[in-house]
Symmetry: C2
Subunit: 418 residues, 2 copies
């Protein structure tokens, strides 16, 4: 007789039931769990690689392109990197229990606002199976139970990873129910997760724009929107030429497929002749396709003619849209219209331009004279990140451990009434 697969709701209820248990553990116990899971990954690396090879074989058979196969693979040192990731999270300070503020009211009530876990966190993510371990590490460290739904491409790898996580939890006396992978393979399992109001305290989607939009449209539970970045670099009239070139080359080329890579370059008309052609030449040498407006093509004829769609597109590719603007005002208006409020940079040597850009651009991270590529938990010094929030509620920008917590008010009295 085959065992019955629990429904998504049953899995969430099981996780929620034990979530309070983890929240009450001290940080030493939570850290011990992470270290036990890290050891389990190393000890059972062969088992993981076997499961991963089955995913890879299936993916190859269906003609999955090479870059996606690479994202799926747990070959080489990927397993030991996952284990190291967990040990790095252990070294981060415990986010829980911090007293954010506290005061005494005139009637003697003592009020404290303290940091506590969210409860049960849902992750919906694509392709890379190492997200399973990153999410596990960050959620357990911050005292949260976890319901994971990875991609079907990484199904066997994720099952094997969650099984090891659960063995690690048991080995330190914690409930394996704390971390669960959704066992329903059908696509409706995602819709079911998104409807679990009262059970899931938040769902965090990680993946392409399609996934994020689907989650936002369907979710009844609170969502933290992540990742879509149509980022700009604006080169001001007063920009240092060498610095401007370094920054646009880095922002565009260092890793074009990620959300904090720059997609559009805006250039003050005063720099269209003395700086732009050489900079675009450098980008061309680096293999970047340039799509420019009329004034760009006058000084750089190799540019393809840009259309409206180019200003709107997050390419995540070796393509850059380029526009000449007549003023900082025009640059701000362009960014306000087309930007996705992720990361925006100005290159300037003018104090007023820098401060105006910082004040007026509405984005998670606004840069003066630095690459947009710095919007990242590691680069910000958070040690690890859950993703980059592009919404304004709860968390904005790189999300570390603190963003996986909420607060509660403790109020101590001696008989106060109203």
């Amino acid at each position: 007789m085959a065992a019955t697969i629990p429904t998504v709701r049953q899995q969430a209820e099981n996780a929620k039931r034990v979530a309070g248990e983890l929240a009450r553990q001290d940080s030493a116990t939570r850290d011990r769990a992470l270290l036990a899971i890290a050891r389990m990954l190393i000890d059972e690396a062969d088992l993981l690689r076997e499961a991963n090879l089955r995913d890879l074989a299936r993916a190859q058979a269906t003609g999955t392109p090479l870059p996606l196969l690479d994202r799926l693979s747990l070959a080489g040192d990927r397993v030991s990197e996952m284990a190291k990731g967990l040990r790095d999270i252990v070294d981060l300070p415990d986010p829980l229990g911090e007293v954010l503020r506290g005061w005494t009211r005139p009637n003697g009530l003592r009020i404290e606002q303290i940091r506590v876990p969210l409860g049960l966190v849902g992750f919906i993510y694509e392709s890379r199976p190492n997200v399973t371990i990153e999410a596990t590490g960050l959620c357990l460290k911050s005292g949260n139970a976890l319901l994971l739904r990875g991609s079907s491409a990484a199904w066997e790898s994720n099952l094997a990873l969650v099984a090891l996580v659960q063995r690690g939890l048991e080995s330190v006396g914690l409930s394996p129910d704390l971390v669960q992978g959704v066992l329903t393979p059908e696509r409706y399992a995602v819709d079911e997760m998104l409807g679990l109001t009262g059970l899931l305290d938040v769902v965090i989607p990680r993946g392409g724009a399609g996934l994020i939009q689907r989650v936002i449209q369907l979710a009844k539970v609170p969502v933290i929107e992540t990742g879509v970045g149509n980022c700009h670099v604006y080169v001001d009239a007063s920009a240092d030429a060498a610095m401007a070139t370094d920054i646009i080359v880095n922002s565009k080329c260092q890793r074009p497929g990620v959300c904090n890579a720059t997609e559009s370059l805006l250039v003050h008309s005063g720099r269209a002749e003395d700086w732009l052609p050489a900079a675009l030449g450098r980008l061309g040498e680096a293999g970047i396709e340039i799509r420019g407006d009329e004034r760009v093509r006058q000084v750089f004829p190799e540019a393809v003619a840009a259309t409206e769609a180019d200003w709107e597109t997050e390419y995540l590719d070796r393509i850059l849209a380029v526009r000449v603007v007549d003023s900082l005002d025009d640059a701000l208006a362009h960014i306000s219209r087309y930007g996705t409020r992720h990361s925006e940079a100005i290159v300037t040597s003018d104090y007023a331009s820098a401060e105006r850009f910082l004040a007026e651009v509405d984005a998670a991270a606004v840069y003066v004279n630095a690459s947009t590529r710095f919007t990242d938990g590691g680069e910000f010094g958070f040690g690890a990140e859950v993703g980059i929030s592009t919404q304004k509620l709860h968390a904005r920008g790189p999300m570390g451990l603190k963003e996986l917590t909420t607060t509660k008010y403790l109020v101590r009295g001696n008989g106060q009434v109203r």
Copy 2:
């Protein structure tokens, strides 16, 4: 020819267009706007009362019960109270521009996290027209534009209030588009608001459980869930008798119709005989109907037999559910099962019980030896509140001006690249 009524989306677009203008104003200008609106309310009080009388006449004609008519009314000193509310908000500290944290990275990047407005806030609320002015005051003070949708019962009153707000804004040189009342009277206008992703940065519903649930089910935009409170007082074995009586009487009777009023009393079995009958007698004298379990009815036969539904219900009425429990564990289990994570109180003189209750109860506010009625922006010292959040993302508990803000990262460099 009649003027065309703008659609909900057009109104939101108009508000969003000018939202940045307000965000850039200094606090003196924002305060001047609130004072101008306060003066406008006083100067045009007759005009407001006329509009309000039309709403009241319509409500009376359709048989609206007296308490609802009272909530709808702007008679007596209600208009001057609204004006005073605005002046009180002026006196609160400006939430904007605060640097929450700042640090320098090893590569020299200087990162600051500063407090900025959310952008465009949506309010959906029932009955009381003074919410129009409270929401306006709090949102303008925190630099946000505002799209308001009040109840159809207060339609004329709200139209008149928004018109005066807009005149006040214009009188200090700000755009009247900053505060808009939805002009589409049909019910689908609410659904349309809830679908305005990318325009509304948050929607805050204020009203009964039906409204809140409808908003959560339909919203594609971020929501802050407010208000449903199935709150408990637990009287521990070691509770001081007089203090326990004062606290349950205050928690239940001082204002039974609000979310922080207590709905259930849990009593340790050791106090079922020496304390419970007298306390329930006091509540009975105050006009409270008691619904008790078997053990309550043994010591207080006047109690109606409680059913499962009684533990689940937020009465918002002069009814109290009462249960005898055998231990703190049983009380915690009951609260975990039936509570709505709003406000929970223990009355005890035992240190360990107090600290365990504070640590283990998962709620926005957890009390030792004080009434649940203190969960309130004014009582917490926030000066004014937008509502009480019962969700865990972004804000939890009383929401003041800070909860109407988000943050952004300002990153200053001198050419840094990765």
